[in-house]
């Protein structure tokens, strides 16, 4: 089995509101996939469905299991960090370790202690005495000590300063990620992790509007800085977006060959943030 997640026609309605409109996507083993979309696009609903936290229609397999019926089995192989801190404030760090040891069959206590020994978090401290960054570190230490095949991260670095954010992904890469595991991550700070990703999923209004590997994206989406004389020629090639920079125009093209574009000006790869803006405006 190479796909850790496989969704076909995945749908979810809250009353008359359709949060997910029959989406198809998959996450292969060894990938780091970014799920990106504006607020209310359906990201959290997808994550909830994967974790078995909500009912859904359509077909969804996570590690070959069905989340709405086999949540218990899935939870043994899937880890999750949510954007909302869910550790009880009165809990001591050492109690948190004891608790997870008791409830999780795949938790490696020694590993967790090792991770914590590299931080400034005292074992005797209560969660409420820790800074926001420390709570995130504690979370990460717990989660990375679970022998999970799939890690789901929902805005894991929200509210953390840049040093903690870097350290967070640094830890993830040195201590957790390998070709046998996959990470699915949502974040609004996409520019910070775009080089980390292997694949990108854009979601808008409950639909997946982009599903591609970073290499495919680099081949397909090209930005060209065009001087005024060439503007007409560029526009004839149907750019998906244009913006002005220092009196020159920057056009974003989808699926136009490099050879053709090279005649117009200097080629660049768009940042994921620029691509996101373009795709969100498309057809609106």
């Amino acid at each position: 089995m190479t796909n850790l997640i496989e969704a076909r026609g995945l749908s979810k309605s809250y009353g008359s509101y359709q949060a997910l409109k029959s989406v198809d996507f998959s996450v292969a083993r060894g990938k780091i996939v970014g799920l990106v979309g504006p607020n209310g696009a359906g990201k959290t609903t997808i994550l909830k469905a994967i974790l078995g936290l909500t009912s859904y229609e359509g077909e969804l397999k996570v590690l070959g299991l069905e989340p709405d019926r086999q949540r218990h089995e899935i939870m043994q192989k899937v880890s999750f960090i949510a954007d909302v801190a869910v550790l009880p404030r009165w809990l001591k760090v050492e109690n948190a370790l004891e608790f997870v040891t008791e409830v999780h069959p795949n938790f490696n206590l020694e590993r967790a202690k090792y991770f914590l020994s590299k931080t400034n978090i005292p074992m005797k401290a209560k969660v409420k005495e820790l800074s926001k960054g420390m709570v995130a570190q504690l979370h990460l230490a717990l989660v990375m000590s679970i022998e999970a095949e799939l890690l789901v991260l929902d805005e894991p670095t929200l509210g953390l300063d840049i040093l903690f954010r870097k350290e967070f992904y640094n830890q993830l890469l040195t201590e957790f990620f390998d070709e046998g595991r996959s990470i699915l991550v949502t974040t609004h700070q996409i520019e910070e992790i775009e080089n980390l990703l292997t694949d990108l999923l854009f979601i808008r209004d409950g639909k997946i509007i982009l599903d591609a590997s970073m290499e495919e994206i680099a081949d397909k989406y090209i930005e060209v800085m065009v001087s005024k004389e060439n503007a007409e020629k560029a526009e004839a090639l149907n750019p998906v977006m244009q913006r002005d920079v220092f009196g020159r125009k920057v056009y974003l093209f989808e699926g136009v060959s490099r050879e053709e574009l090279e005649l117009l000006g200097e080629l660049h790869s768009p940042s994921v943030a620029d691509l996101f803006v373009a795709k969100m405006k498309e057809g609106k």
Partner: protein
Amino acid sequence: MTNITWNDQQPIYKQLKEKVIELIIDEEVCDGEAVPSVRQVAADYQINPLTVSKAYQELVDETILEKRRGLGMFVTESARDKLLESEKNHFLKVEWPKIMQKIVRLGLSTDKLINNKNENPEVQ
């Protein structure tokens, strides 16, 4: 390896490969020495491990790096000489003609070019 700012005109693995070549030529990593692990480089630069592997793999294909089982990646014995040779070639064939063109276009004399260094000591 210290800081790199990636440009958006070339894939990152190409830029990383160039950086490794630079380090070898500058003898910051010498022939026969180990280069940092894929994992380490990925974490240091917050890039995907596959990107690092791809850069290393191209250098292996060009016999600049070699994989030693269980030990990691090492610079091959004659890597620096090989790189110097190919970099010199590249400079003479690709970069120098462009510089020449510009020199001709600006009408700069040999004398002016050579003595310029002394007039502007900060530009060397």
